[in-house]
């Protein structure tokens, strides 16, 4: 059926894969009609998809350095776009984003704008130039452009801090989903998630991660879009929700006016289970100051352009031109999900609060709501809670509480979709969390094995030894991440945002100025990375321990402090020390034109 090279057959291979997945969904739907239990459907969905990824990981095993670090630099534009989108969209994007929009409205939408706008910076400032450089890792660029082990080492530190913060959140998410779908305790589920992640990446490095990420993107986008379109039609809101929900948005605003936002007393709120929230903010009105919105968006944009696991995806394309276009495709594939999240939030909220809809629960009696099947299920799962604070026997808007994850996980069931959709959503969430965790674990272990072990400790190491070290590190980092994830210190979304701020504090300006400012030199870059990271971290600790902060910069936007310090110290230190030598200047010139050999190949 398939002849010739794998790369030439990609559309066919993934076409068959997508068809196969759709057939699997239909089979599960038939099995559900035939009486298969909801639990079993969930297990089938998660186990089947994870096994497929593991199979792809095994088929992509490699013993070549180029394939292990950069997938042989032959990933076509559109497929790299899909892989990047999966790499990018984490368990948080998939499970928590619609919930964030549902509860916080406009103030939260800054994340949507930031997580997409950042790609403009990636495409115009960095990706094509780093591709031309021909490096294996982000610290590889810093180390070669500025010269010296200190610069390389500092970049590895920033990369590790940012990526590790992020990866614990992702392993946590895989654990959460695996524990719900497979019905095992969280402490064990975390290691099941970890095993799946390592199966995808250990044998084939970047090559394996690339081809599993494409497969994971296909699963996660089907799992996200299918319910949104279905729910919208079912509620009679329109068959294409993105263009047709204006009436629903207006209706929510009308209901909010009618119900009003009643503030609960502290004593009442203390009875609500931890992690659940009520609707306290208007759905579509502008409820954040311009600075609050813009500062958060700016941090996410600069963070996007500094996160190494995203940047290294553009090292895998065949050329500079394809790297540039690939950024566009990445954002397009991300856009498909991000533009659907607000629609899901709208549909979810309206179906719950509109008393004229059969699914609406506000205005019903407390006893009626407590008798609903789905309410009981999600109340048991600790994601929904009602309480009759004012004792009038009817459910008011301020008496209904929900967990952020419930918007994605529970809305299909509330709208009356078959359970097969809930199984599909679990598989999608798993795909999203796994693909991001894969990319992050690989980014860290590649930096440690290539930049620390090979470039600094043992430059004479032979290929086989380098790849063994890379794999051992991969497993160790995975276990470290899982161990910390099992402790459940920080919520999923909080640590994701911190990761962006860390990356922005230490890496944004050293990367950008490395291409765009010839005069930038090694001492400047080291100062920029270390002082940026230290000051950002210090500010975070200060605000966390009760400090008042300044300029309205919060613990979610501390990257602004870090990046400002980084920029100033980098410029000042660069200017008071000697200009880079002629060879370095020539290197920057070479990076700026697409033609010719990669900079590293010339050396």
């Amino acid at each position: 059926m398939i002849k010739g090279k794998f790369i030439d057959n990609l559309p066919k291979v993934y076409g068959i894969y997508t068809g196969g997945f759709l057939v699997f969904i239909i089979l599960m739907a038939i099995a559900e009609q035939a009486g298969m239990s909801a639990k079993l459907i969930g297990i089938f969905f998660v186990a089947f998809t994870v096994l497929i990824y593991a199979l792809i990981g095994w088929l992509s095993r490699t013993l070549q350095v180029d394939a292990y670090y950069v997938a042989g630099r032959q990933v076509p534009t559109v497929f790299n776009g899909m892989a990047t989108a999966a790499d990018w969209m984490s368990g948080a994007s998939f499970v928590a984003m619609a919930g964030g929009i549902y509860f916080k409205g406009y103030g939260y939408m800054a994340l949507l704008v930031g997580w997409t706008g950042g790609y403009v910076l990636v495409a115009s400032l960095l990706a094509p130039y780093l591709r031309k450089f021909g490096c294996y890792t982000v610290p590889d660029f810093i180390g070669t452009r500025y010269g010296g082990n200190l610069a390389r080492f500092s970049a590895v530190i920033v990369l590790t801090v940012a990526s590790f913060t992020y990866v614990t959140a992702q392993i946590n998410a895989t654990g959460t989903i695996a524990s719900v779908a497979l019905d095992i305790p969280f402490g064990i589920a975390v290691y099941v998630g970890l095993a799946s992640i390592l199966m995808c990446s250990m044998l084939g490095g970047m090559r394996a991660v690339t081809w599993t990420q494409v497969a994971q993107y296909i699963v996660l986008i089907i799992a996200y879009l299918l319910p949104v379109f279905w729910i919208s039609s079912k509620l009679g809101a329109g068959f294409f929700p993105h263009f047709m929900l204006a009436d629903e948005v207006a209706r929510i605003a009308e209901l909010e006016g009618q119900f009003g936002f009643v503030k609960n007393s502290a004593a009442d709120l203390a009875t609500v289970p931890k992690g659940l929230a009520g609707i306290t903010k208007a759905h579509s009105s502008v409820n954040a100051t311009p600075w609050a919105f813009i500062s958060l968006a700016v941090c996410m944009m600069a963070g996007t352009a500094s996160l190494p696991h995203v940047m290294m995806r553009y090292f895998t394309t065949p050329s500079v031109r394809t790297a540039r276009r690939s950024v566009g495709w990445s954002l397009f594939f991300i856009f498909l999900l991000y533009s659907s999240a607000p629609m899901l939030a709208t549909l979810s909220k309206l179906s719950l609060i509109d008393p004229t809809l059969p699914t609406g629960i506000i205005g019903k009696t407390i006893a009626e709501v407590q008798a609903i099947d789905w309410y009981q299920n999600w109340n048991q799962a600790n994601l929904m809670f009602i309480s009759d604070f004012n004792g009038n026997g009817t459910l008011e808007l301020n008496e209904f509480f929900m967990g952020g994850k419930a918007v994605v996980l529970a809305t299909p069931e509330i709208a009356g979709l078959p359970y097969v959709i809930s199984g599909l959503v679990a598989a999608g969430g798993m795909a999203a969390a796994m693909s991001t965790a894969d990319g992050l674990v690989l980014a860290i272990s590649n930096a440690l094995s290539h930049d620390i072990y090979y470039k600094i400790i043992n430059p004479k190491a032979e290929t086989a030894k380098r790849l063994i070290v890379a794999r051992v590190l991969l497993v160790l980092i995975g276990f470290a991440g899982a161990t910390i994830a099992a402790l459940e210190i920080q919520g999923i979304l909080g640590s994701v945002i911190w990761a962006f701020d860390f990356a922005m504090s230490g890496l944004f300006f050293p990367l950008v100025l490395g291409v765009w400012w010839k005069r930038a030199n090694a001492p400047g870059a080291v100062a920029g990375m270390l002082l940026g990271l230290i000051s950002g971290t210090a500010y975070l600790i200060w605000v966390r321990s009760g400090g008042s902060g300044f300029l309205g910069i919060t613990q979610l936007t501390f990257g602004i402090v870090g990046a400002a310090v980084s920029l100033v110290s980098m410029i000042v230190v660069s200017l008071i020390t000697a200009a880079p030598d002629a060879a370095t200047q020539k290197m920057v010139d070479d990076v700026r034109i697409p033609s010719g050999k990669t900079v590293l190949a010339q050396k």
Partner: protein, 88 residues
Amino acid sequence: MSKQEQHWEKTRNLLFITLAIWFVFSIGIFLFGAEMQESSIRPFGYPLTYWFTCQGSLAIFVILIFWFAGRQEKIDDEFGFTEREGDQ
């Protein structure tokens, strides 16, 4: 001015235009979020600021990157700096 310097100057100008458009739709318009929300311009019936955060800005970024890539390819072609087979 050498060929390479001219190429870089054009590249830099393209960067400034791209970043200016990016700035408008990621930062600029949100300085006036409250005012825009009241506007009578309502794409697909959604309030204007709400629409930009859900779809508008996001879609503009996608288009902007493809436009930028096309323009940069033209600049590279003009100076003969486009990669050829076997360059990498």
